[in-house]
């Protein structure tokens, strides 16, 4: 009996179902993120003020019971702008991850299943994409399509596709060679059925981990693009724009707009990465 086999000898509960232990850290992280998403969705209900209309008379007001984080250079309530800002700041990366994951999973699974020349071509294209910095692609896309949400989202989706696809391809390749995949092949199932019913579900924990980790990176990238003025345009509330807008006030001694928006970006990215790490550990345990 080796050390490894000690861990393999598991006494299962009679039901045979996986014991669902609630991981308190995971639950905490999840709760904070859910609250943030809820705040974004319900912004009109919970934001105390309009995000767009300021009162120039109270510009750069310090924190007060009426304005918990004060107001910005044109007198808009910072808390309200942060709450509304969560919408685009979270929607952008979510779109990127949805697109990149769909493309990455499709490419990786099809490459593994079809193999041969198709696999070689897909792998080379992914390598090439991986070598081009995402921000550079985004800047080119903005030059072609103009500023706004669409261009950076499309560009970053392209940039994150290899990030999802490359790791997935190598894991799916290992999975595909396992005997259970070969036996469903022998049973006569079509490639579609095998990929959708067997291959995909078994690499899902990895996809989840990769997508979560990519979300954090995409959020930072999008914020950077907004900060550079290439993404959505002011006065739209968005955290990257707020960091950028707040810069002038920061130098004048009113740092709260930049700092609070920057703080939210950091908090979300850290939480999402922690979540992704947990998922990655689980994926490893499952695989």
């Amino acid at each position: 009996m080796s050390l490894a086999s000690v861990n393999l000898v598991t006494v299962e509960p009679a039901s045979g179902r996986r014991r669902t232990r609630l991981d308190p850290a995971l639950a905490g992280i999840g709760a904070v993120l859910v609250l943030l998403v809820l705040a974004a969705v319900l912004a009109p209900l919970i934001a105390p003020y309009s995000p767009d209309q300021g009162n120039i008379l109270i510009a750069n007001a310090p924190p007060s019971p009426a304005h918990l984080l004060g107001t910005d250079a044109v007198g808009r309530d910072i808390v309200s702008r942060l709450i509304y800002g969560a919408r685009l700041s979270l929607l952008g990366p979510a779109l990127i991850i949805a697109l990149a994951t769909t493309a990455g999973v499709t490419l990786a699974i099809s490459a593994v299943w079809i193999g041969g020349w198709y696999d070689v071509v897909v792998s080379r294209v992914l390598d090439l994409l991986f070598a081009i910095p995402g921000l550079l692609v985004a800047i080119i896309a903005v030059a072609v399509l103009g500023t706004g949400l669409i261009a950076p989202v499309l560009a970053l989706s392209l940039a994150y596709t290899p990030y999802i696809a490359r790791v997935l391809r190598s894991v799916a390749l290992r999975e595909r060679r396992l005997a259970y995949i070969e036996s469903v092949q022998l049973a006569g199932f079509s490639g579609w059925a095998i990929c959708l019913r067997h291959l995909l579900p078994n690499v899902m924990p990895l996809i989840r981990a990769q997508a979560t980790l990519a979300f954090g990176a995409a959020l930072v990238d999008l914020a950077a693009i907004s900060y550079l003025g290439l993404g959505v345009q002011p006065p739209t509330p968005e955290w990257g724009i707020m960091v950028s807008d707040g810069q002038a006030s920061l130098l004048n001694g009113y740092p709260l707009e930049s700092i609070s928006a920057g703080f939210l970006i950091v908090v979300v990215v850290v939480l999402v990465n922690l979540l992704g790490d947990r998922f990655a550990i689980r994926a490893e345990e499952a695989g």
Partner: protein, 333 residues
């Protein structure tokens, strides 16, 4: 009989399993004399490899042990750090089932073999010469060329020979071999066993041979201990055990292997092998034993002498020679 080289007395090991300390070895006692080959036979979860690890003091950090392991009368768990290093470096060596997992793939065989000698201050030329000599002893003739090659250029059998040669570098007195031939083809297994046999004769090397294969252990060892669920259930002369096993588990195990030249349906021990922490309070084999009585399920039998063997079975005398298992196919583990 001279003082034993290695002596285990009521060695018990507890390990964290699912967060709780669980017993993985119960009161294992045996001794190995200088030059003797002892087989430690068992299925998965029997604790045979864990016993070897306990001897080498290679248990995980949270493991608890009780009882004693002594080497030439000195307590191994009591060794100081430097004494332990010296013990592992010069007295005892270990070879494993999967040599590839224990050799650095990016270094040459020569790097691997010479490392210990160079660390002891042997000059490189002399070390190489010695390594080539050791390779010749394990049946590798073109040692000079092999030293320049990498592990992936070797077959499994060749690599296991290199592991044996590496184990011999420090001229140990005891070799722990943990399923060293399980991953090899039968013809290669025969060669590796022949090499180990020759080395025992030439060097007076004692061998603790860990295996799941009762027939192999019976063929190559002087005595053997049969382990089940962390407990030694029978120990004695290999030949005697192979012919007249007393413990129902040993009898069942021997007869559940098909024998060449006989098509008779083989016997089936019902159920699957369990680990020590899954066994009940009584005899560890009671749940699978067709002869278990109420006493067997509540009172754990210790090893006692019956007909020159040591056996842990309450009913050893009355069952002697009459144990049989069903050959029923539907029995599932």
């Amino acid at each position: 009989m001279s003082a034993p080289l290695l002596e285990l007395d009521r060695l018990a090991v507890r390990l964290p399993v699912h967060g709780e300390l669980s017993t993985v070895i119960h009161d294992a006692s045996f001794e190995i004399a200088a030059g003797e080959a002892l087989g430690l036979v068992g299925e998965s979860g029997s604790g045979k490899s864990m016993t070897a690890r306990a001897i080498m003091r290679l248990l995980p950090p949270r493991a608890e042990i009780s009882g004693s392991v002594s080497y030439l009368g000195q307590s191994v768990p009591g060794f100081s750090r430097s004494a332990l290093r010296d013990f592992r470096a010069t007295q005892i060596a270990m070879i494993y089932q999967d040599p590839r997992a224990h050799i650095n793939p990016v270094r040459t065989n020569g790097d691997f073999l010479l490392e210990a000698m160079l660390a002891q201050g042997v000059r490189p030329a002399a070390a190489r010469e010695r390594a080539v000599g050791l390779l010749a002893q394990v049946g590798i003739a073109d040692g000079g060329r092999r030293l320049r090659q990498y592990p992936h250029q070797m077959s499994g059998g060749q690599l296991q020979r290199i592991m044996i040669a590496a184990a011999l570098v420090t001229s140990p007195r005891l070799l722990l071999a943990d399923e060293p031939t399980t991953a090899l083809d039968v013809t290669t297994q025969a060669e590796v066993m022949a090499i180990l046999g020759d080395l025992r004769v030439e060097r007076g090397l004692a061998l603790l041979f860990i295996t799941h294969d009762l027939d192999l252990a019976a063929a190559v060892t002087d005595r053997m201990a049969v382990m089940y669920a962390g407990m030694i259930v029978e120990i004695g002369s290999s030949q005697t055990i192979h012919q007249d096993a007393l413990h129902p588990y040993t009898v069942g195990l021997l007869r559940s292997r098909p024998k060449i030249g006989s098509r008779a349906r083989i016997w089936v021990i019902p159920g699957r092998p369990v680990s020590a922490f899954e066994a009940g309070p009584g005899c560890v084999f009671a749940a699978r034993c067709p002869y278990a009585t109420g006493r067997c399920r509540t009172e754990r039998p210790g090893l006692r002498e019956v007909e020159r063997q040591l056996v842990a079975c309450h009913r050893a005398e009355e069952l002697k020679g009459s144990v049989s298992f069903s050959a029923e196919a539907a029995i599932s583990d």
